[in-house]
Amino acid sequence: MTEIQTSRRSFLKTSATATGGLLMAVNLPGTLGQAMAAGTVSTPNAWVHIADDNTITILSAHSEMGQGVHTSMPMLVAEELNVDLSQIKVVDAPPGEAYVNALLGAQITGGSTSVRGSWEKLRVAGAQVREMLVSAAAAEWKVDRAQIKADKGMLIGPNGKKATYGAMAAAASKLPVPEKPAIKDPKDFRIVGKRTKRVDTPAKTNGTAEFGIDVKLPGMVYATIVQCPVIGGKVKSFDGAQAKAMPGVQAVVQVSDGVAVVADSWWRAKKAAEKLSIQWDEGSVASISDASMLEGNRAAAKSGKVIPIIASKGDVAKAIQGAAKVLEAEYISPMQSHSPLEPMNFTAHVQGNKALLIGPTQFQQGAQGAVAGALGLKPEDITLKTTFLGGGFGRRLELDFVVQAAEISKAVGKPVKLVWTREEDMTHDYYRPMGVNHLKAGLDASGMPVGLHFKVTSQSVTQRAFGLPKETLDPFMAEAAVTGYNVPNTQHDLVIHDTGFRVGYWRAVSHSMNAFANESFVDEMAKAAGQDPYAYRMKMLEGKPRYANVLKLAAEKAGWGKALPKGRARGIALMEGYDSYMAQVAEVSLNKDGSVKVHKVTVAADVGHMVNPDTVEAQLQSSIIFGMGAVLKHQITMKNGRVQETNFAAYEPVRMYEAPQIDIVLVKSTEKPGGIGEPGTAVAAPAIANAVAALTGKRVRRLPLTADAIRQA
C-alpha cells in the first residue's frame, strides 16, 4: 500500500499547485493573539503562547469535531514543553501556513491525519519552546544551560534561582528558534501514550461548549436559506413579498445558492422562508435518479477507461483461466449523507473590505479563500475563528454554507448567523458517492486464490473538490483496494464515472466501499473452498505480521469457532487503512421482523504509537457504530434529481437500543502512529455482512443490509 499512501499524501499539495484551486496559503502577520490570558503574550513559535502571568496556550491546527484533538494535540506539545495538561489552555489556530497539514497539503482536519501529521511536528514545537525558555533563563542568570531544568511551567536553576515560563517568555521569543531540538525517546514519555481525560468534556456536560450554532455577536440577526430541491439548480425568479411581511423579518436576499430570509430570530426566519415562492432553473441533475446512477456506473465498469491502481502482479487473466474454480461478484454501496447532528451553519460579519467568520469548519484556509473569492476580498482581510464542530465526518470540509453566510451578511450589512434546517442539510449534502465493485478470482484445487481481479467504479470527489484532472488516479478512490493477502496474480483497476451529482469525502471515504467488497469476497472464496473464513485468511497472511496479529487477536477475543446460541453467527473482516491495522468480529442474529441485530463487535487494532489510548477506544466505538448505520439502515436515494430522504425518520442513524457491545483489543506497538477516526467504519460493513451470510446462508452484496435485502438475496 505504500505507494498509494504516498501518492495520497502528496496529492492535494500537487493538485492545488497545478490548478490554483481552493488552497490559499495565508500568513497572518504578527502575533496570533488568541491566548486566553491577560497581560503580555509572547509567541515563541506558532504553537505555544505564553503570557507573563504564566498562562500557557497551545494552538490546535485541527478542529475538534469529537475525535479528541483538543486533547491529543496539546498532549504532544506538553510532553516536550514539560507542562501538565491541567496547566494549559487550548484554542483553535487561525488560518495560516504554519498550520498546514503536511499529509494533505492544506489546513484540513480530515483523513485521519491529525495524530499522524502532528506526531513529530508538535513534539518538536514543544521542545523548541522549552529550549528557548532555558536559553533565556541561562542568559538572564548567566549560568550554563545544562544547569537549568524546565518543569511544570517553572525554570529552575542553580542556587535557588527560579522563574516561571511566563517570566522568561518575552526574552525567549526574541531568540532564534532551534531547528532540531532534542526530543524524548518514547519510552520516557510522561503524557503521550497515557490515558488522559479530554479537556473539552466539562464544557460539553453543562451546556457551555460553544458550537457554531451558539455564536452570538452584538447586533446579530438570524438567517435561513432555501436552496433548489435539485442540487446545483439556480433561482430563476422569486417572490419574497409574503415572507417579507412576516413578523420580525428584516430582509429577503438572493444569494448564489438560493434565497435567504433574515429575521430577528431564527424561528421567525424559518417560518417566513416557508412563504417564499421561488421558480428554479433545476439544471442537468434533474434527470438523475439513484437507479440511473447505478446503471451509469455499471455501464462505465464495462466500457469506461481503466486506470490501474497499482502495478499488476503476474498474469491474472491466465491464472483465472487455468483455475479449478472461478468466482465473480458485484458489490454495491449506495450514497450516504454525513448528517452531523449540528446542522450546517456559520456566522459572518462583512464590513467594507473586511470580514469576520466564526463557525464550525474542517478547512480554515479554504473557508477564508472561498469567501475572499466570492466577495472579492483579500484573504488576509478575513478573520476566521473556529468553534467546536457538532460532528464533521467530512461535511465540514465543504465551504458552501460559509460563503452563503458571508453573502447574506454583505447584503444586509449586519452580523448574520445562518442556520440550515435539517431538511436543507440532508438534501444538500456532498454525498459519499455510490460505488460498484467487481471482483473475480480463480481458485486452485485446494481452494486458494491464484488470481484476483479487483475493479471499483465510482465517482471522484477529488475531481470536484480539488480539480483532479480527468482519467487520472484519484488515490481517495483506491483506499483499501489492495489487501494484505498474498495472491500470486493480481490486478487492481479503477474506473471513474461522473454521475453529475455532487459528492464529498465521507468518513473512511473509499475504504468503506472497497473493504466491503474485498472482505465479503474473501468470505465467498472461503465458502467456495469449504474453509473457515478465519483460517482461510490466515493462510494468505504469511509475512504480514501486523495483519495476522490483529486477525488472531480479534478471533481469540471473540471466541471464534466456539459455539453460539441458536440463531446467532459471527463474521470476520480485516483491513489496513490510514496506517492502522484492524480486524473485527461481528456477532449477529435476526430480529423478528427479519432485520439484523448486532449483539457484539470485537475489534483488535494495531494503530502504532498511541497518543491517548482512551480516545483510540472512543474512536473505535464511534466509527463502528457510525459504520453500522450505513451497513444496516440508511442510504440516500434520488428521484428526478431530488434527494428523497429529508430527516432522521428516513435516514436514521443507529440508536441506543441498537448499539452493540464493543470489545476492544489494542496492540501495544511502537510503529509510527496510524489514524483511527475512520477505519472502523469501513471494517464494520464486511464483518456484519459476513456474519449475516454465515447465519442465513444468504449473501447480500448490495447495501444497506435490510430485512428486505436478506429476503431477496
Partner: protein
C-alpha cells in the same frame, strides 16, 4: 402577548409568538444555547428539556404549552458539573463532538429521577429517542449506570 414560566427555578417571560417552539425561545430569546437544534421534528432528541420533570422535545413544544410550568435545561443540571450524571459523564469521557449530549443528559436525568436502578432495557427505552451521530452509546450506558449507583448511595 407573553408567556410566563420558570426556567431552572427562575421566572422567565417569552415575547415570541406563542406557537414558537420552546427551543427557539430558550436559544434566541433567553440566550440559553445549551439546548440544541438537531432535526426540528422530535426525531433526534438534541433539544430535550424537562417540563414539570418530564423529558420533552422542546423543538415540538410551543412555548404556550409551558405557561406556568417549570422548565429545566442542561444549564440547570449544575453549572459546576456536580450532578451525578455530569460527574459520571466526565469520568467516562462520554462526549465526542458533544452536540447531542445536553439532550442525552436531560433524558438520562428524567430517567434517573424516577428510577435510580435502571436495567439495560430501561435505558434503551429512555434513551432511544436521542441520536448520537458519534456513537457514544456504550459510554452513555456505562455512565448512566454509574450515576444511578451514586444516586442510590446518596
Amino acid at each position: 402577548m407573553s408567556v410566563n414560566f420558570q426556567v431552572n427555578g427562575k421566572p422567565a417571560q417569552a415575547h415570541a409568538e406563542t406557537d414558537t417552539p420552546l427551543l427557539w425561545v430558550l436559544r434566541d430569546e433567553l440566550g440559553m444555547t445549551g439546548t440544541k437544534f438537531g432535526c426540528g421534528a422530535a426525531l433526534c432528541g438534541a433539544c430535550t428539556v424537562h417540563v414539570n420533570g418530564e423529558a420533552v422535545r422542546s423543538c415540538q413544544t410551543p412555548v404556550s404549552a409551558v405557561a406556568g410550568k417549570k422548565v429545566a435545561t442542561v444549564e440547570g443540571l449544575s453549572a459546576k458539573n456536580n450532578h451525578p450524571l455530569q460527574v459520571a459523564w466526565i469520568k467516562h469521557d462520554v462526549p465526542q463532538c458533544g452536540y447531542c449530549q445536553s439532550g442525552q443528559l436531560m433524558s438520562a436525568a428524567a430517567l434517573l429521577a424516577k428510577n435510580n436502578n435502571p436495567s439495560d432495557a430501561d435505558i434503551d427505552n429512555a434513551m432511544s429517542g436521542n441520536i448520537c451521530r458519534c456513537g457514544t452509546y456504550p459510554r452513555i450506558r456505562a455512565a448512566i449506570k454509574d450515576a444511578a449507583a451514586t444516586m442510590r448511595k446518596a
